[in-house]
């Protein structure tokens, strides 16, 4: 059991995460009904306002707060209780991030920031929206430095030793995150804020997009790596085995530091201002970042097979039936991983240079990130929630909660299967993303998006409704385990943090020499970005004034 003060910080983070989840999924429900013309909004509410809230609250706020809740718990568990300074800065980080969140959300609600979570210039939101987003980033940096500080104390007291796998992976994720944020911090601080407050008249649009995507791709790895951490260090414990290979787990993580950043152009493949050479170079680098995920796929199956065989599974697939399917901590994460197979495959397609033209900004992309962040990541977090909150509150995870949890993950899976399949197929038929209902003057191509079994906005809405029900069940579980479930007194009721053993006796020490990885990462960033960005700046057109087109 970790120190009660550390638990409190973690619980507040998780509490904010699920508050955002509640509002965000409600927005999602509205979206699916607006898109199929079943719901008209009152004049004071706009589709794009709701969509901005959905993106910000789920993709940025829910993920970030949950991740820090998980990191704080795991770091306290694996490296020992926080010192007073670490605690103080974890709290400051939390409050700054929360302040930023509240500011940005207030601007969205006020209708001053219907610019979506990507806030592409020259759409000009209230300056306070950008300040809010900047505070969110700065808050995460403060929380990150608190954890790095905690880690350094441990290193000092354990000279020459490799850190525990959980801590190693946390630090990897944080290093990647801090480097990644430099792009968005640069554009928000030096481009958006002066422009939004009227200190400068114009903004260089293409540069702002490029700096945004410098951050935007590693952002998705900031969501994914904590899920991978659960897969690598939590799942084996639930299955009663050790981590499959400590050194390969660490290697795959450091590869993410190297290759998740110099790849942002794969989000800009169909736009002007970047030559084909640099686009293609970053496409190649994007393909490098697939390799650690291939390694992860192998490690996961190997973990399952070893566990299943230990439980008496025979033959080629006998182990599969011997996995603890009734344990929702496992089943949830297993399904999350399964969704990542088509999710990852879709990502390879999106990044395949000209193939991007088929899918770019269509509903395919929406389908894609709901089966990457919306399920593999989010459902891994759900699977963690089932034990993390009871662990932190010292409450029971009762039988009825277990049943509800099962219902929750099954409904989420089923709803998502419907919604994301419909979205993928509609996207291939050309239906655009980020659009309210439109009949496009009854053009036959657009009519096609409303009839069909799977290729139908109605199917998407049915899936979305099931998802919403699932989300509400989850909120119920969260509220119960946070505040209402009975306290665990008997040893059998006490919920533990499942942290697998990892044999690091043969793990090379250089894996934990961060300067190597930071240096290589920076070198790759320079190779991928220095020339195209300097060209962009030198051959910049006159800048753009701001527009408020909503």
């Amino acid at each position: 059991m970790i120190a009660v003060q550390d638990r409190k910080i973690a619980l507040w983070n998780i509490g904010v995460a699920y508050t955002a989840f509640l509002i965000g999924t409600l927005c999602g429900l509205l979206q699916v009904f607006i898109r199929n013309d079943a719901l008209q909004l009152p004049a004071w509410l706009d589709y794009y306002q709701i969509l901005t809230a959905h993106g910000v609250l789920l993709a940025l706020v829910f993920t970030t707060f949950f991740i820090f809740g998980f990191f704080i718990t795991g770091m306290s568990k694996s490296l020992g209780s926080f010192g007073p300074k670490v605690r103080l800065f974890s709290w400051i980080g939390f409050w700054v991030t929360l302040l930023g969140t509240v500011m940005a959300t207030a601007m969205i609600v006020a209708g001053e920031a219907s610019v979506l979570y990507t806030f592409y210039a020259p759409l000009k939101a209230s300056g306070f929206y950008y300040v809010g987003l900047a505070l969110v980033i700065i808050g995460t940096w403060i929380s990150s430095f608190a954890l790095v500080g905690h880690y350094r104390v441990w290193r000092k007291n354990n000279k020459g030793q490799l850190s525990p796998l959980f801590a190693f992976m946390t630090i990897t994720t944080i290093i990647m995150w801090i480097i990644a944020c430099l792009g968005v911090v640069a554009t928000v601080l030096f481009q958006y804020i002066p422009w939004a407050f009227g200190w400068t008249d114009t903004i260089d649009v293409e540069l702002s997009r490029t700096l945004f995507w410098f951050f935007g791709h590693p952002l998705v790895y900031f969501w994914l790596l904590p899920a991978y951490m659960a897969w690598y260090v939590i799942v084996p414990k639930i299955l009663g085995v050790k981590v499959f290979s400590d050194s390969l787990a660490r290697l795959s993580f450091v590869l993410f530091i190297l290759f998740s950043i110099p790849v942002g152009f794969h989000h800009q493949l169909t736009e002007p201002g970047i030559s084909n050479f640099w686009k293609f170079l970053q496409v190649v680098l994007t393909f490098m970042v697939i390799v650690p995920s291939l390694m992860t796929a192998f490690s996961m199956f190997a973990t399952f097979e070893i566990a299943g065989r230990k439980n008496g599974g025979k033959g080629l697939f006998g182990w599969f039936t011997k996995l603890p399917w009734k344990d929702i901590r496992f089943t949830s994460i297993f399904i999350a991983m399964a969704f990542f197979i088509p999710g990852g495959a879709g990502g390879i397609i999106n990044a395949s240079f000209q193939l991007n033209e088929v899918v770019h900004n269509t509903l395919w992309i929406v389908g894609h990130f709901h089966i990457t962040v919306g399920t593999p990541v989010a459902m891994t977090f759900m699977g963690l929630t089932f034990w993390l909150i009871p662990y932190l509150t010292g409450r029971k995870f009762t039988k009825s909660m277990k049943v509800l949890g099962l219902v929750q993950i099954i409904t989420w899976s089923f709803g998502m299967l419907l919604m994301s399949t419909a979205q993928h197929l509609l996207g291939l038929l050309g239906a655009p993303r980020r659009t309210a209902y439109s009949g496009y003057n009854d053009h036959p191509a657009a009519l096609e998006w409303f009839d069909g079994i799977l290729t139908n906005h109605v199917t998407m809405a049915i899936g979305g409704s099931i998802l919403f029900v699932s989300a509400m069940i989850l909120i119920y579980i969260v509220v119960m385990t946070m505040f209402l479930s009975p306290k665990a007194v008997e040893p059998k009721d006490i919920v533990d943090f499942p942290l697998a053993e990892s044999d690091m006796s043969r793990t090379p020490k250089w894996l934990e020499n961060w300067w190597i990885w930071i240096g290589l990462a920076l070198a790759l960033i320079v190779i991928a970005y220095a020339i195209p960005i300097s060209q962009m700046i030198h051959h910049a057109p006159p800048g753009s004034e701001g527009f408020k087109t909503w």
Partner: protein, 40 residues
């Protein structure tokens, strides 16, 4: 790396088949969209 010392005994045949199924899904999806691209 607990397994490594005992590597010859670790039977990972099921894993090998499973990851190849993953590979197959990736290839099938990629080829499908590639053909769609070519057809457009």
């Amino acid at each position: 790396m607990g397994q490594e010392n005992r590597e010859p005994e670790t039977n990972l045949k099921g894993t090998l088949v499973s990851v190849f199924v993953v590979g197959l899904i990736i290839i099938v999806m990629w080829v499908a969209v590639y053909l769609l691209y070519v057809a457009r």
